[in-house]
């Protein structure tokens, strides 16, 4: 019984220590997250007035811009595919990504109400206040990483 209690105590102490250990990542120059013992970095990064990210853009025959769904670019959850898109753009694999998007568009059961003439992988910079307060949907800067005519 005593041995069993000792084992239970040390096991518990070890587990709690392992759960708390990732706290040290907060003070590292290059913190590394892991699973299931995480330091939960979400929402701890300072954000500026503007925000830039990679995304897919469709341009219809009338020249109108449409934000395309992440689901066309990969499998997994929203944030997972978002990161995959960014990774593709940074590695210069934008054209391959757009090929996959084109295939997914062809497979799409419910077609769009508009006809796309071009798809793009872009990096856009947006002003957060203007985006949400003034409903300004145009970026303050945009860089085309890859493009594909349909």
């Amino acid at each position: 019984m005593v041995k069993e209690k000792h084992l239970a105590i040390w096991g518990s102490v070890l587990l709690i220590a392992v759960i708390l250990a990732p706290i040290k990542e907060n003070w590292k120059a290059k913190p590394k997250d892991s699973f299931p013992f995480s330091y939960y970095p979400m929402f701890s990064k300072k954000r500026g007035e503007t925000y830039g990210m990679y995304y897919l853009l469709g341009v219809d025959t009338l020249g109108q811009r449409h934000f395309l769904s992440y689901k066309l670019a990969g499998t997994g959850g929203f944030n997972q595919v978002r990161r995959q898109i960014a990774k593709c753009a940074k590695k210069g694999d934008g054209s391959e990504l757009l090929d996959r998007v084109e295939q997914q568009l062809k497979r799409k059961k419910k077609p769009f109400s508009y006809s796309l003439s071009e798809i793009k992988l872009v990096k856009g910079e947006y002003h957060l206040e203007h985006f949400f307060e003034d409903m300004e949907r145009l970026p303050i800067a945009e860089k085309v990483m890859a493009t594909k005519k349909l």
Partner: protein
């Protein structure tokens, strides 16, 4: 200073031979906390709850998980326990693991040969979810589930409501063996919230988090990501976005709940308040950001904080009373 000699339960070689009454009181209190007995049914309910959620996850994400395993090497970045993997495992091997895991999950819920199935399922679930998180993004919404299954899997959680219990037909009663894992789950849960709170104040934002401005821009970044990637904006977010004070209230509440999480174990009433507010916080996150922390939102993460077996015993009592009453009515005819 009063000196207390000896210890009723065992010799403590790691403590000085003569330690003070104050130290004794602390040890006694810790002992009373850790080794508080609990009924076998409470731990069994946790086994069924965690197992049920894990099974729901595996079945509802079945197709997505299989597609993900076929996603190619480009996005694979092994983390944690699977960090040594050079690349993704073959899709067929992944399918086999998925099927085995579902099978083990069922046996875990049913409590069959739990001595072996428990640790096996817990270990495989940990490896599986670590592998699932090795595709460019670490999701934090399954951490608590894995930790709880890891604790339950290595204990005697199938001494009630299980096939093992049916076979043994012995009454297990109340024991610290059932109480300790439950306490450990509670401590592990508050620790994860605490770690999350520390990250907020130790990060770039520091205590700015409480001003509301920082949280507002964090939520705005999440919202803009959704719009640009073809998703929908949450209407609640659009309503509250112009009001920074709303974000300030949310920020302060979040910090209090996360950094103050360990204090929730101090008193039963405090536990209730903390659990209810934390549960509401997750629903708030859902309404403002559309992020579903299902394990938290269903309240399953907090089951260990309550005497859940009382609900079961209450229902049992109510049922037997009703049966007796109807029997009496029948016999009177």
């Amino acid at each position: 200073m009063k000196i207390w000699k000896g210890f009723p339960l065992q010799r403590r070689s790691w403590l000085p031979k003569n330690y003070s009454m104050k130290t004794k009181r602390i040890i006694d209190r810790l002992q009373a906390f850790w080794f508080a007995p609990a009924p076998a049914e409470r731990l069994a309910i946790l086994r069924i709850g965690t197992g049920g959620f894990a099974l729901w996850y595996l079945l509802s994400r079945f197709s997505m998980l299989r597609r993900m395993a076929r996603g190619g090497e480009a996005h694979f970045e092994a983390i944690g326990l699977v960090a040594e993997l050079g690349g993704p495992i073959p899709p067929l091997a992944f399918d086999a693991v998925l099927y085995i895991l579902i099978g083990l999950n069922l046996l875990y819920i049913l409590g069959w040969k739990f001595k072996y199935i428990g640790p096996l399922f817990a270990t495989l679930l940990l490896l599986f979810l670590t592998y699932r998180n090795s595709w460019a993004m670490i999701y934090h919404n399954r951490n608590a589930l894995v930790l709880q299954v890891l604790i339950i899997g290595w204990t005697t959680a199938a001494d009630a409501f299980s096939l093992d219990a049916l076979r043994s037909r012995t009454l297990k009663g109340i024991h610290w063996r059932y109480g300790l894992p439950i306490k450990l789950i509670c401590v592990a849960t508050v620790c994860t919230y605490f770690v999350s709170g520390v990250a907020k104040v130790a990060g770039d934002l520091s205590w700015e988090w409480a001003t509301g401005e920082a949280l507002r821009s964090q939520v705005a970044v999440d919202a803009i990501r959704k719009v640009l990637l073809g998703g929908e904006l949450e209407p609640v977010f659009m309503w509250i976005y112009p009001y920074t004070w709303v974000f300030m209230v949310m920020g302060i509440t979040t910090l209090i709940l996360e950094l103050g999480a360990p204090f929730a174990l101090w008193k039963k009433r405090l536990t209730w308040v903390w659990v209810v507010l934390t549960w509401l916080m997750h629903w708030g996150i859902f309404f403002v950001m559309g992020i579903r922390f299902r394990y938290q939102m269903t309240g399953l993460i907090f089951l260990a904080f309550f005497d859940t077996e009382k609900v079961w015993f209450g229902l049992k009592q109510w049922y037997s009373k009703n049966v007796q009453r109807s029997n009496r009515t029948l016999s009177s005819y």
